[in-house]
Amino acid sequence: MTWAARTVDADGWRAAIELLAAGRRTLTSLWGADDGVRMALHGEGEAAILALPCPAGGYPSVGAHHAPAIRLERALADLYGLRPEGALDTRPWLDHGRWTVRHPLGDAEPSAGPTSYAFLAAEGESLHQIPVGPVHAGIIEPGHFRFTAAGETVVRLEERLGYLHRGLQGRMIGGDLAGAAKLAGRACGDSTVAYALAFALAAESALGAEPPARARWLRALMAELERLANHLGDIGAICNDAAFALLHAHSSVLREQVLRAADACFGHRLMMDCIVPGGVAADLSDEGAQTMRALTNTVRQRFELLVDLYDDTASLQDRMVGTGRVSPELAARFGAGGFVGRASGRAFDAREAFAYAPYEALDFEVPARQDGDVNARVWIRIEEVRQSLSLVEQILARLPEGPIRASVPAGSGENAALVEGFRGDVFVWLKLEAGQVAGVCLRDPSWFQWPLLEAAIEGNIVADFPLCNKSFNCAYAGVDL
């Protein structure tokens, strides 16, 4: 699949909303540009980017008919000042009234200052609220969680994010491609490879540039290493939140070994700035390939021991099974990607659906389950670790020779790319004018996962929230930008 761009009028926009509401399309993103709003959606074998000019500053609300769009619309209103007409929730999302200006990417005006934020109500007898964050108890990104509980049982959770908004997209606009690529790699630190890859693919397709074959394969190698490192870290951290430190200790060792191998081969533990428009910045030496082979051998052997430990420990299973369930209907409606979607029956994987090189030439399976609980999200990660180990080995065996970087012309154009990060599908849309960034959208998979966490915790006890939250491991910085 490739992205087809077209300009629509309000009726065409509404027709797309109907397709989304009917479940025939999945919403990929909704964002602002200098000439109106854009919406990316895919399904039934096609992927489209719709542009709706908004000369009067308003557009028909998508969120009023399709809930996954609500927070995207609120962010869009904060950044561009474009109004979703008919929207039910018009509270700000990213703008806490503390920036120097309102609508920084649209018609900027001085900020009116902080305003109070009304959380959604929960009514009933003996309810109490628990405010948590933005500074949390652990080494975690900041966000606010407002729990309403009846005794120990969570009645409603509402998230409030935006604390990490650095103005990243605004920083890109007006700058050159190389600078924007560096920023893309800092949208979300744990997915720096996925973002750099999506950004590079979007830039290359916008400009008609073609990276060398070896670069494409090395990119996939880096992407699978990133997936391995994050899944290994997550599996241990989830168990740690159920107070099972043994598995955490052992999986942290494996994660560290992946990062050290990445550092030895590509010069950076997280492989930041290693993927650039036109190719990759670091080649894999013969010695590096040996390091990688040794890594996959060690991880493969040690990991299966940890899988047995996870599966055999009854006290751990007692915490995991049945906790924080997400229904397949909800996962499908929100187009939830990654382990959140796949644990609830949505077997979408951008590596398969969009078949970007070299994945069309590699063998891998996309695991899926129907149970949708914490345990299912752990098992999806376990299966994906196995798949990634196999992919790394396939890439090493078939890595083509040749150059690793091609020049990218400083041209004009716009296009998008969807790539599979460890957390789910990362979308990047880019508009370039004479080598400069004229418009950009980075959409993290967590936009469609955070709302499901609110649904997953309902009816669970407050003490299970860390476990549920870690099993989702949603991005904060990637959403706040």
Partner: protein, 176 residues
Amino acid sequence: MSMPRLLAEGVLRRALTEPAPQGLGLVELGPAFVEAARRRLGRSLSIRQVDAGSCNACELEIHALSNAYYDLERFGLRFVASPRHADVLMVTGPVTSNMRQALERTWAATPAPKWVVAVGGCAIDGGLFAGGYACASGIADVLAVDVWIPGCPPSPTALLQGLLALLNADRRQPGA
């Protein structure tokens, strides 16, 4: 039956833990800090981490300090859940406008004597985000910084060098 095997290995195998890194690397210490630390710090520090606009890469490497290779706690360094229990705030990110108040309140909640460690390129001077509409240009815009640990993100080794400098300030000269 992997539990008995893993536990037995844990006892019988040589530990993965590596020796402490020597020297300061790229870490810089403020003069006021060195003087105060000489007088006040013992052999133990409690650290409260605050993310004030990081991309999460710094947090990943701070997490790595607790793995078997770096084993932070052997040095008497530990992360605590509340600023009330902390000697040190370890702060990442350029300080977003939306996090500024939370950072100031966390600092106010930390009992003196207390120090600030700025971690990562963004925390030192705002990095790629300096001067934007939504953030400050580093921690020093908001709090007085005592130790700077550069890197994007700093490696766990660099983080250890910075933290050990806190403990050993009485035995080292700044920049040595």
